[in-house]
Symmetry: C2
Subunit: 340 residues, 2 copies
């Protein structure tokens, strides 16, 4: 059942039927009712391929997925996706993942924009002066950045959490508890979130005249194993930290294991605070010693970004507003006063 057939059986032109269905004003309400009625009765659904050829609208939002045999997709992605998908569903949006060589995402962005394959895109895990952000900005496709980039001469729309503030709070608490040697086990410090977290920690330390020793900060891919190794390295050095801030729950697993392997305890010998993106399958309260966390649901971020993308597509949102969400500091058993 296509438009031609439908309009023919209604003895109307395709124009009128199309307009009636799409809510244009220049059609009699009586006629519109007849049309909508017939459309529903015959289960007419406009062919999206035809529609997108005619209008350029696709009803899809795009994401360029970095791939490669040695490229791992962040497990956070799936949780983000839950939120995004949940919102997208309610607005009949689909998500298209365009796999790209991790070292050349630019080509793919250009392709999906030039081909009009999606109505909007989002960008995640941005770095300072991220080329992808600059690119989509000049390409002129609606977009939202999940996280922040920095150092552009233009503004852009983003949704981020207050990583700086979160880790500032975490570190401040530790300092208040008497800790003087803090360490930070961070994610990839080429990414903005990691940079922000580090400055948050530094700011808290500075407020008490302390610093973050060079050997007290690590930047690694956020795996359990790297959390373990980093912790071993930290705790086996001469001026071992008495408290650690850790950028992910998965790494925190490794931290806990390392501490145990060394015959130490949490929080007796070491206080630990980790960032929790709120996974359903791994919860900080279920660590052997309940883990203090800076908590922010990445799933909600996914939903929010879908919402903003939808708004931008339909023209309801414009401009370059950035929003920064506060992060909860949740204190549990893994922090205590500094030993000694």
């Amino acid at each position: 059942m296509n438009l031609k057939q439908l309009s023919h059986m209604l003895s109307l032109s395709q124009t009128t039927v199309s307009r009636a269905l799409n809510g244009y004003p220049e059609v009699n309400e009586e006629t519109r009712r007849r049309v909508m009625d017939a459309a529903k009765r015959h289960g007419y659904r406009p062919n999206p391929s035809a529609r997108r050829l005619a209008t350029g609208k696709t009803g899809m939002i795009g994401y360029v997925l970095p791939t490669g045999t040695s490229v791992d997709i962040d497990p956070h992605f799936v949780e983000f996706l839950s939120g995004l998908g949940d919102y997208a569903r309610s607005h009949e949006l689909d998500l298209v993942l365009s796999p790209a060589d991790a070292d050349d995402q630019e080509t793919t962005y250009r392709r999906i924009v030039a081909n009009r394959q999606v109505d909007a895109v989002y960008i995640s895990s941005p770095r300072p002066a991220d080329r992808r952000v600059a690119l989509v900005n000049t390409l002129g496709i609606p977009f939202i950045v999940h996280g922040r980039s920095e150092g552009f001469d233009f503004d852009y729309p983003f949704t981020d959490i207050d990583n700086e503030g979160a880790f500032h709070e975490a570190a401040r608490l530790l300092v208040q508890l008497g800790h003087r040697r803090l360490a930070l086990i961070n994610g990839d410090d080429r990414e903005t979130f990691a940079i922000h977290r580090e400055s948050g920690v530094r700011r808290a330390l500075a407020a008490s005249g302390l610093t973050l020793g060079e050997r007290h900060v690590c930047s690694v891919v956020m795996t359990e194993e790297n959390g373990y190794r980093a912790t071993r390295r930290l705790l086996e050095q001469s001026d071992a930290p008495t408290a650690i801030a850790c950028s992910s729950l998965i790494m925190a697993l490794g931290v806990v294991r390392a501490v145990r392997d060394l015959g130490l305890t949490i929080p007796g010998d070491l206080s630990l605070i980790a960032h929790d993106d709120v996974f359903p399958w791994l919860k900080p309260e279920n660590f052997s010693v309940p883990l203090s966390t800076t908590r922010s649901s990445i799933r909600m971020a996914g939903a929010r970004i879908a919402e903003r993308l939808a708004a931008r597509i339909s023209g309801l949102e414009e401009g370059a507003r950035g929003e920064v969400w506060p992060v909860d500091l949740v204190v549990r058993g893994s922090v205590a006063g500094a030993p000694g």
Copy 2:
């Protein structure tokens, strides 16, 4: 730059240019070279919207993503996606995720097929007599099932791992080590993989005249917390098992924690084997006691399924061949002879 312009500047018809570009035989090789040359020089890329309207081909593979506020996407998904994406990239395929109400995926399948939004789909986490499989089979769109369904009067193409064999091997090893009371902490037993794993364990036990006690098998969503709870329940009952087979590494984290909480040790008091889908961020060899596993890379499965989907789309693969991959049993420190 569109076809019209390109053909005009070559003084050829659109027909000839189109055919030259698409490798049709009825065009002079000399001409073809000229055309391809000009196309490359001017960066001509056929408009996919137009092409799909004309051909019905989209260059996309589809996946219906169950969503809902209380629906969690399996973290395995992201790893599967890595493999799928990596292959898809090399074949210029995109993946479209169509979010659907978890309780009504059928509508979405019908929509994406009726609208010709994708060239093929894959289905994951199938259950016996899975309605989705029956549906896509009748809808006539190329598809591959990741995993297996059962109880149909038709065959269908799938790629699965030998869950039955894997857990049979695992259980057999435990029995050989003298264990008499095994337990299984399984995933959702409405899904085929879980059913297969359970029968694998049962078969191994039966071979030695043993059985899997009703209270020795749990079926839960695969989270750390559920692994913990299940283990507590198992070990605190009167005829506690001396060995556990566990369906996921994440649950195994909970198992380990529970064992520790109870003041027991692995493998002294309890032997443990878990299934490992091979995540980069959580490795069995890095458990405090290195974990024995049945190992099968879900990432490779993703790549394979992309490969088969691509083959089906281009007509290179037909029929309903199912393939079942063997699973490695990797023995590490978490298994030992039965205590006592």
